[in-house]
């Protein structure tokens, strides 16, 4: 399968130094109570809201691009798709609040798809020439597997699907999915602006204390790292005897490694915000993230094709192990620093 060249990844540099300076100067100027409040406020204002803002901007651009040219080979459309998908991956660890209302996160990102529900649902729509695609609002009622970025990937990058039935219908379907992505992204952002950010800033009902808010944010980091280990790397790795390259995330568009890189960046950003009350720990975590990101960059294996060969496989496993170690540090050091303890029951398994 021909894969389009990906633009060279030019990931914005992490504002580590800026965060450190901010944390240190804040420590000199502010009483401790204000400092503590800063963690949540910064997570919201510097990480969550900008993340969803970028998702809305890029997915609206995606929807416009699809409206202008729905040809799967359209460069502007593919570029817009890549930018919006990037923006999603950067917030994909924030699985609480508005992203969970009405299953919005699943509607944007139904993955992993262990039973192949996405292609099944799409082929069913295509073969039936289902008129639902003409109605953007109604499209939100189709199977969740036929919505979002992973569904759109099939239309833009899967050669078999591109030869099924009429191009005109697939064009309509592409537009419907892109529009739906934009609408779902807006709904999440609106939820944050309407009240969810306030619920986190002034815990009362949904969260009853600042500790609970921090617990939620800590869980986002922890879950994001787990997804990297078990899903984004673990699924294609499979076992040594049975590697599973076709389980790599978004391999059709050549984005598997890129998602690991983007996710590491986003998790680093949130982790360093959460760690700012302990500058020593923050610096330690920043170093660990930098090393792991460099390790990911060195792989140069965009779809983890190397899982089937002993040498390259070892390097992917080594990256997975480094992320495991990082997760352990986060659990043992950052959790207690935030007053969050590792799960008594979740680690038990009985």
């Amino acid at each position: 399968m021909m894969r389009p060249p990906l633009p060279q990844i030019s990931l914005p540099r992490m504002p580590v130094a800026r965060l450190l300076v901010a944390a240190l100067s804040a420590a000199l100027l502010l009483p401790p109570s204000i400092l503590r409040a800063d963690v949540v406020a910064q997570a919201i204002d510097q990480h969550i809201l900008p993340g969803y803002g970028a998702l809305v901007d890029t997915s609206e651009q995606l929807s416009e691009s699809a409206a202008q040219d729905c040809d799967p080979n359209s460069e502007p459309l593919r570029a817009a798709y890549g930018a919006a998908f990037d923006a999603w991956v950067r917030v994909s660890h924030l699985r609480f609040g508005p992203s969970e209302t009405d299953n919005r996160a699943f509607a944007l990102a139904f993955w992993p798809d262990s039973r192949g529900k996405t292609p099944k649902a799409l082929y069913a729509l295509i073969r039936a020439n289902d008129p639902i695609v003409a109605d953007p609002d109604a499209y939100s009622t189709v199977s969740i597997a036929a919505r979002g970025f992973y569904a759109l990937e099939f239309l833009l990058f899967d050669a078999d699907m591109q030869q099924t039935e009429s191009a005109a219908f697939r064009c309509q379907l592409t537009r419907a999915i892109a529009q739906d992505i934009a609408a779902t992204s807006r709904a999440i952002q609106e939820g944050w602006i309407a009240d969810y950010a306030d619920k986190m800033r002034s815990p009362q009902d949904r969260y009853r204390s600042e500790i609970e808010v921090k617990q939620e944010l800590f869980k986002a980091v922890n879950t994001g790292l787990e997804i990297l280990i078990d899903m984004r790397l673990g699924r294609p790795l499979g076992s040594f005897d049975k590697p599973r390259p076709k389980r790599a995330e978004a391999y059709r568009s050549g984005r598997s490694l890129r998602h690991v890189q983007l996710s590491l960046q986003a998790l680093e950003e949130l982790t360093l915000i959460l760690a700012q009350e302990d500058p020593e720990l923050q610096a330690q975590l920043a170093t660990s993230f930098t090393k792991v990101r460099a390790q990911a960059d060195r792989l140069e294996d965009p779809v983890f094709a190397g899982v089937t060969q002993p040498g390259p496989r070892l390097r992917i496993e080594a990256l997975q192990q480094s992320i495991r170690n990082l997760r352990e540090t986060v659990g043992l050091e950052l959790g207690p620093a935030l007053g969050v303890e590792a799960g008594f029951n979740s680690l038990d398994g009985d």
């Binding site: 008594f344 029951n345 979740s346 038990d348 009985d350």
Partner: protein, 359 residues
């Protein structure tokens, strides 16, 4: 089986009131094992509102517990591979007996009394043979071991009385372990969990397996409804990222029914059902997942998910008077009534896996 109140009323009327009963204790409504901040293990009795009424020390980490139907005695089970089950007088804290499994066996952490209180049954591993066992203890004679029979599978975990008290329902989790290998799972590729209905003499009256593609879904925890319907919660041992059901219902004589199979929110459970309970009206069944820090509630009739509720490290779950009560490894006790989650208590304890309703 008469209710506790009805039973006591009957005894009183007959002038045969027992020396002591659960009513003397300020009515604990639940039992749970826990761990203190300084690392000690205990068994606690909780009131309806989650208040701790008593705590009794345990020698090591507990798991589940079961209460005698009439006497104020509870048995706290060690977490597997368990080497003890402590019978405790909940009025005085006195340890009445310590049950130790026979040589070559260990406890799995669950057990149940017969409805008349005469026998205690325990799930056990005959680990050299890799065989699931139900141990039988005489609760009328200082918990003397009086026998055992096969559980109907490997790795029996939770066990309850059938709704009419005529036998047992056993969750044979299917996973073989051996104490020499710690808690390592030895047979994942070939595991075959089942739900077994047994008479008290060990005869299997019915056995249920799910379809072969779900053979790695370990049937672990049980709840029972007055009409005999069994709710079971599973723990997925296969590939992470697979979409699998975690909760099912079974009525004896029928095929099992899996809850919310196509709902993507099942993923939020991370493949792990920790505890299961029905609501008092029997219309809904709920499951907790400490790995997902979430509790999900399903409609028994439609099989759809009604809602999910976040709580860090939630695992213990039981029926409350008005709905459901849940506990967490962070010391929280919450109640879910008509879709509203409200906190009841917060203790400086880590509540362990199960919250056991006493009556």
């Amino acid at each position: 089986m008469p209710s506790r109140r009805g039973f006591l009323a009957g005894l009183l009327a007959a002038g045969m009131a027992p020396a002591a009963s659960w009513a003397d204790l300020g009515s604990p409504a639940y039992l749970s094992a826990g761990k203190t901040a300084d690392g000690r293990h205990l068994l606690a009795g909780l009131a309806e509102d989650g208040e701790i009424l008593f705590t009794r020390p345990l020698p090591a980490r507990g798991h589940a517990a079961t209460a005698h139907p009439h006497r104020p005695e509870a048995v706290g089970f060690a977490r597997r591979p368990g080497r003890f089950a402590d019978v405790i007088d909940c009025r005085t804290g006195e340890q009445l007996s310590r049950l130790e499994p026979p040589a070559g066996h260990h406890f799995y952490g669950h057990g149940v009394f017969t409805a008349d209180g005469s026998l205690l049954m325990t799930t056990e591993n005959d680990y050299e043979a890799g065989r699931g066992i139900i141990g039988v203890w005489d609760a009328r004679a200082d918990y003397r071991r009086i026998g055992s029979f096969a559980s109907g599978g490997t790795g029996p975990h939770d066990m309850l009385l059938k709704a009419d008290g005529s036998g047992l329902v056993v969750a044979n989790g299917g996973i073989e372990t051996h104490p020499d290998s710690g808690r390592a799972k030895l047979n994942i590729p070939t595991m075959r969990p089942n739900l077994s209905y047994l008479d008290f003499d060990g005869a299997i009256t019915e056995q249920v397996e799910l379809e072969p593609e779900l053979h790695k879904n370990s049937i672990r925890h049980l709840a029972i409804r007055a009409d005999g319907t069994v709710g079971f919660a599973m723990q997925w041992q296969g590939d992470l990222g697979a979409d699998v059901p975690i909760v099912g219902l079974h009525r004896p004589g029928m095929s099992p029914r899996l809850m919310a199979e196509d709902d993507p929110r099942l993923r939020n459970l991370n493949g792990y059902g920790g505890s299961i309970a029905f609501t008092p009206d029997g219309r809904q069944v709920a499951v907790t997942s400490p790995r997902g820090s979430v509790m999900q509630v399903f409609d028994c009739e439609s099989g759809e998910m009604n809602g999910e509720y976040g709580l860090a490290d939630v695992c213990g779950l039981a029926q409350s008077r008005a709905g459901l009560i849940a506990s967490s490894g962070t010391g929280k006790v919450v109640e879910l009534v008509q879709g509203q989650l409200r906190p009841l208590r917060s203790a400086a304890l880590r509540w362990d896996n199960h919250l056991i309703r006493l009556n």
